[in-house]
Symmetry: C2
Subunit: 337 residues, 2 copies
Amino acid sequence: MIRLSVDLMGADAGVAELLKGLYLFHKRRLECTFLLFGTRAALSSELKRYPLPKHLFEVVYAQDYVNSDAEVFRTLKSGIDTTMARALHSVVSGQAQGVISAGNTGVYLALSRFILKTLEGVFRPAIISQIPTCRGESVMLDLGGNLDNSSKVLVQYALMGKIFCQKVLGVESPSIGLLNVGTELQKGTDALKEAYDMLKHQKGLNFYGYVEGNDISKGTVDVVVTDGFTGNVALKTGEGTMRMMSFMLNRVFRSSFSARCAGWIAKPFLQDLKAYFDPRVYNGALWLGVRGVAVKSHGGTDSIGFSHALETAYDMVRINIVQEIQNTLLQQISTSE
Amino acid sequence: MIRLSVDLMGADAGVAELLKGLYLFHKRRLECTFLLFGTRAALSSELKRYPLPKHLFEVVYAQDYVNSDAEVFRTLKSGIDTTMARALHSVVSGQAQGVISAGNTGVYLALSRFILKTLEGVFRPAIISQIPTCRGESVMLDLGGNLDNSSKVLVQYALMGKIFCQKVLGVESPSIGLLNVGTELQKGTDALKEAYDMLKHQKGLNFYGYVEGNDISKGTVDVVVTDGFTGNVALKTGEGTMRMMSFMLNRVFRSSFSARCAGWIAKPFLQDLKAYFDPRVYNGALWLGVRGVAVKSHGGTDSIGFSHALETAYDMVRINIVQEIQNTLLQQISTSE
């Protein structure tokens, strides 16, 4: 039986919306149990609105929570009795197998590294997520975990991304692409060129080579490897572009009476499309490389989005992603020694 | 009367397609004259297919042209008699006021700096282009001119981007955003933090602060300032996402008989949308900061796209963007002294 620790505080969406999402997820996964973390003031009254069965849900109140503008350093020093830190500790103590939060990203990443610790051999944990493409789905990392990444870090991202893609998307030998400003060998930074050379000679890796920004949604490769700064901007640019096109679609079909009629007829098909690109479906990014399943939900998501992030955490525990990554890295270390 | 030098070689699209685009543009701008650069083998036979009036078009044959896989260093040393270099030289000698090429981007940028030279006070030239947003259009720079940019370079990009936005989009006091992985002050690289502080204290600049990837298409600011690596990836990611959504729209409306019917009814409205997002309309990026109008067209564009890039070059000459940028930078230098 899987038990998830859920930090319900610090999200723009608010406690009520997250609880609603939790309830949606609970209805789909009746076998999953939960530890809920909140402050008494925020949580106790909201909880009464949901018929959560007592044997599946346990509530833990903390004194404080991590604010959206909290600073990493200060929280590391004095944030022990926050909902986020206590939720992470519950994974270390074995009370839960995975943790999820929609709170402050920077603090969550720092606390995860500090409390869960990184896996043996991991240089830097990365944020990974599935993304929609023309060919189905790909995965991309790092999406903002670390801003400054050297070639050896990028190479490790490729390895971790491969395992994630195999286990989550079921691709046997995922193709790996290194995100660059062009596909020619002379393009890019020195770190990228070094990483390219290392990946080219890596045994057992289906390395495609460089890919460009437009290759992400084309689905040219199964795993897009990049540094945290570029990955974060690319992810958000893609999401923003999808939102812009949805916005313009709505506007076009409201521009006149005949447009409204056409829009009404086209609606069921447009809704199919909307569902495919719904960013809520892709909500839930994993901190890859720490000793535990730690999933980050968008802070501004709604209940449906949060339920998907819970689904991600549940899946990651189910496929035992942490152990899979650890085994691969240890194997890697022993063969290179 | 404006005269443009057009390098017709080295593009994936091929000479015939570019000539077709040139002819489209000529039909719109009958007063513009041209210097066409090509190799005799590629150009002479193609030229016969187009009824280009002799008093408007002059053809210059070069021995060679810059290949798509040509190396920057080698071309700088031995690429004097290429169509690209000769087209650039024609601007220096005053035979033409602007140059356009759809050839090798890296070589074009390097040759532009080498032949045209940079404007006084410019640290590094940047690639700038208009981009579609929910609110209309914004501009973004650098889109791949330089990969490694310090804070003082980013600050100068903001200044140059402001002038471009004023002159091209007619925005009196354009808002400037610095692309980052979050909007909080502690986020980002040291160069970004330094640039933020410098821009905050810059007089006469409408500095908005940090923006994220999703702000680009939201149109949060008029000018998005970023380094060449991030800008290149963001631009291509946005374009790729638009292409993916068009592809999926087509697929949805072909999925069944009823979908085809609905698609047929919705077609005129979807075409309005398609026209708005057509990347060909945004084709034509400017090298900002060199002593002359040098416009880069996508190598893989078609005739319509190439005609838009010619339009960009024509507009840049008409509004005298080079002198505007130079005046602003000299003013900047004299006030800071």
